[in-house]
Symmetry: C2
Subunit: 549 residues, 2 copies
């Protein structure tokens, strides 16, 4: 079982040194400390374990070190920055693992860019040696790239010529969409195993500058100093909060964190995932929230949800459907959202909301079906309503005409549904849902923010509203039908239907580039006995079937 939780005291592959506003994050991969058997992480190549640490350190910088304004990514290995994803690891991994590995590393690169864009930290790749493949892809996720000019060090994307696969951790998309490399130069660069060195790499826009070995450190330092002085007002001074470990209890078919729990029905291929809403009387002042730290509900619950999603993706591949439920008090959720919305300028609140947005995007990008199940006692309100909007379908019990004298079931929107938690394509989930009728969104915010089942169905906030008599059967049949379908067809279908409207660099990476890479990851030319990935490093040569598809 792969564990996505880590912390600095357990890092094997990265060193983080913080000196006031500057963090130096140095890659020093321990070649024997692999996540699986059968390969060595030579030359700062990485496996999922290395990237789990990277994702952790980027997350911690935001919460634990808000004073950091510049992050310098470099390597402790001489003459090598990073050789990219380990090829022997890829060659010996299952198709599903490769796909999940690439998705996670892509999300980590996007998290770097999210930090840069929204939290004002500047990422500087100080390439003290060659950055190839995923190593260069890590560099282009940074804001600035400096390469040592030692007559030897280069940047390269050698996947196509050496391995017969793509630079699939966003590499091709970032070349032309982020760094805006001319497409013919991107073509040449991506087919050139040895890559390009300083002068031409700069001329083509692949790096921002290169400096001789003797001046490299000095020049990078000067650049960092400039970045820091330009951003003196932008990032929070003072200390952050500590992200403690997420405790959970588990059995063979359950995993229970404090607010998030799952019950697996493996033989039926689905899981019930429940998120418990916040307690009453949470603080509303940022300084009190800082004191609560990582136990504050929006941070704790979404960190738990994130860890759960990653766990389910990688460790429970046969679970094809997740039924999402919430339990709690709607007013408490709305209260939290009001606090978050009112204090979005406070560094910690900003980070908490940005984190919630990232977790919800992780859900959008998870290759499992999601059904939201909206029942009495649930709290699909505000930020938790996003779970229903992110789901492929929602079922809400119709108790509107109930003769019982209880308050009818409701779903409720809050300010946070209006833009704080965007999808990867830049739309809110309400914009995505009401793509055909944007005026409905205004109605929802301006006229009525809470909806009983009848109203929710009529306005289109839910998919189905079975009544008490039909409820159990309808849910059961829906689950049985969904889990009987081809898991591959569902993955492709969901990846298409979830993202109507505009595309962004992120969605191009997760849609176009990833889909092509997944295709290639199955082709005999890559993974067959004569394939390039299989034969890498062996005395035998790859043999291609040259038919173009």
């Amino acid at each position: 079982m792969i564990n996505f939780q880590t912390s600095p005291d357990r890092y094997k592959h990265w060193q983080l040194n913080i000196d006031g506003p500057v963090a130096q994050l140095s890659m020093d991969v321990q070649e024997d400390q692999t996540l699986a058997e059968g390969y060595k992480l030579k030359l700062n190549s990485y496996d999922l374990g290395v990237d789990i640490e990277l994702a952790d350190v980027i997350q911690r910088l935001r919460f634990e070190h808000p004073e950091v304004r510049a992050v310098v990514l470099t390597s402790l290995k001489p003459r090598i920055f990073c050789a990219g994803a380990n090829i022997y690891m890829l060659g010996t991994s299952s198709h599903a693992f490769k796909v999940n590995f690439c998705k996670f590393t892509n999300e980590t690169r996007c998290a770097i860019e999210d930090d840069s864009k929204h939290s004002g930290r500047r990422y500087i790749a100080a390439l003290n040696g060659t950055a190839s493949g995923g190593g260069y892809e890590l560099a282009i996720a940074c804001d600035e790239i400096y390469l040592v000019d030692d007559g030897n060090s280069a940047v390269s994307l050698p996947e196509v010529p050496l391995l017969g696969v793509l630079p699939g951790t966003g590499g091709l998309t970032r070349l032309v969409d982020k760094r805006k490399i001319r497409r013919d130069r991107a073509d040449v660069f991506s087919t050139l195993a040895e890559g390009l060195k300083g002068k031409r790499a700069k001329e083509w826009g692949l790096i921002d500058d290169s400096f001789p070995t003797s001046k490299f450190q000095e020049e990078v330092d000067a650049r960092v100093e400039k970045v820091v002085s330009l951003r003196s007002g932008e990032v929070q001074d003072g200390s952050g909060i500590k992200l403690g470990p997420l405790q959970f209890e588990s059995t063979n078919h359950t995993r229970e964190y404090k607010y998030v729990g799952v019950k697996l029905h493996r033989e039926k291929r689905y899981a019930d995932l429940t998120i418990h809403g916040p307690e009453a009387d949470l603080p509303s002042a940022p300084d009190e929230i800082e004191k609560l730290g990582d136990s504050y509900w929006p941070l704790r619950a979404y960190r738990e949800l994130d860890d759960m999603l990653l766990h389910l993706r990688v460790n429970e591949p046969e679970i094809g459907l997740i039924c999402l439920r919430t339990e709690g008090v709607i007013d408490n959720v709305i209260g939290v959202d009001q606090t978050l919305a009112a204090n979005r300028d406070h560094w910690l609140i900003r980070e908490i909301v940005l984190h919630m947005a990232r977790v919800l995007r992780r859900l959008d990008l998870t290759a499992k079906s999601f059904f939201a199940i909206i029942e009495p006692g649930s709290c699909f309100a505000g930020n938790l309503l996003e779970l229903a909007l992110a789901s492929d379908r929602s079922y809400m019990l119709n108790d509107t005409d109930s003769s019982l004298k209880i308050k009818p079931l409701e779903i409720v929107v809050s300010e946070l549904n209006a833009g704080a938690l965007p999808m990867s394509n830049g739309l809110t989930r309400l914009q995505s849902r009401f793509f055909a009728e944007p005026e409905t969104i205004r109605y929802i915010f301006e006229v009525d923010r809470s909806f009983n089942t009848d109203d929710a169905e009529e306005i289109g906030l839910i998919t189905f509203a079975p009544d008490d008599l039909d409820w159990e059967d309808e849910i059961r049949v829906a689950i049985e039908e969904r889990t009987s379908l081809s898991p591959d067809a569902l993955t492709g279908m969901e990846a298409s239907l979830r993202f109507a409207g505009p595309e962004s660099m992120d969605t191009k990476i997760f849609g176009r580039l990833t889909a092509w890479q997944n295709w290639i990851f199955q082709r005999p030319n890559a993974i067959g006995p004569q394939g390039a990935l299989t034969n890498y490093g062996k005395p035998t040569q790859a043999q291609f079937d040259y038919k173009r598809t």
Copy 2:
């Protein structure tokens, strides 16, 4: 060998009846008239042969029948409009054929939408019976959809539940992006084998209306009449021009049309494709051009290029690289472009330019590498310059310092490079190329429109400029290197690098949706011995590996 040329007198599967401004296009697939052995085209299901006729009729409507304002797509089979792509054909086709088949059918659907958008013809799907799978995908390529309400007829996308593959002829993308079906409803619809009938199909936006059998014809007629009367001023009255067959001579390794020729180097896996520019003194007045008809160079040369691209895609799969050359007089090309630009309001000129744009988009979407080879005697100017801009790379001989007293090699832009020939994503190829520096485009148009090799290299219009001494070796090595690479990795790389910047519904279909479908088309869950596509119609049941990827 598959032949992409056809004409009305040879149609087997479609009947075209033109009555003034209304064309009725009726599907009546002959089940034994298949393109290959091993399947029957029952229930108006289609194979590539059926779609080649559809593409032809849509093209001819634009050129031969400009008076047509409304096209009614219907079926001559009782109770069935179209059952979609034939499953047994898909089940017995190679992976590469399936991919090429889907690409061509997607291009045909896009051609319907191109006609509607740019030429003002309205396409009305009159579903006199069930439209399932590709049948419904054909309907949603139309502007309006009417379904008979006979208690039985439905629209459906049963690919996911029945076949374990996607509605990949644009279906999923058009659901949420074109018809803007709510994503959860799209999810339900796409997993419902039996589809939806009149009332609910209309409520969900899948059709525009439904009418009882007794009133169906009358209601459709009324709608058509309305369309025609609304558009009385928009489309050309009077007669069109005839599109004659494209003659060519071929040997085992050559194919020579009038203006376009290819020489295949099969053992080296590349082809030399040459386009000959226009003659001098072509007419510049639209009425004279109408008299020239299909022999007018821009129409003839681009129709030949289109046929050649389709031929190379499907019949020459091992050709991985196409070296594009032009031969002719630059002034003649520029002269043609001036004529086209000056008369774009004339119906025929408009159609000719729109056709050129479609052919160039076909090239952008062709899964082969393209190198433009710019040598003395070439005419990469205006519309033909697009071939160089569409190429993955360009090589231009550097003769700028030649002591020979000949005019140096040049490339030249024209008005047509400024927007008349857009890529699928809406950008011009110059915008795509200079995505990082849009100001260069203004310089190109305003300051200098012709570039010798030095200038072209400096401003960035070409990739490489070897001189006479290096030229042959450099081209030879570039060809050898390119054709040694994994054809799959190149296809994925080119699909990513060619489309920087915005995405449109078309690019989402060809990028995201197609790439996922191609992935699924290789999965054992679809095509393995127990796969759903393999087992369709057999007494055996599909067996899935339920691991999610």
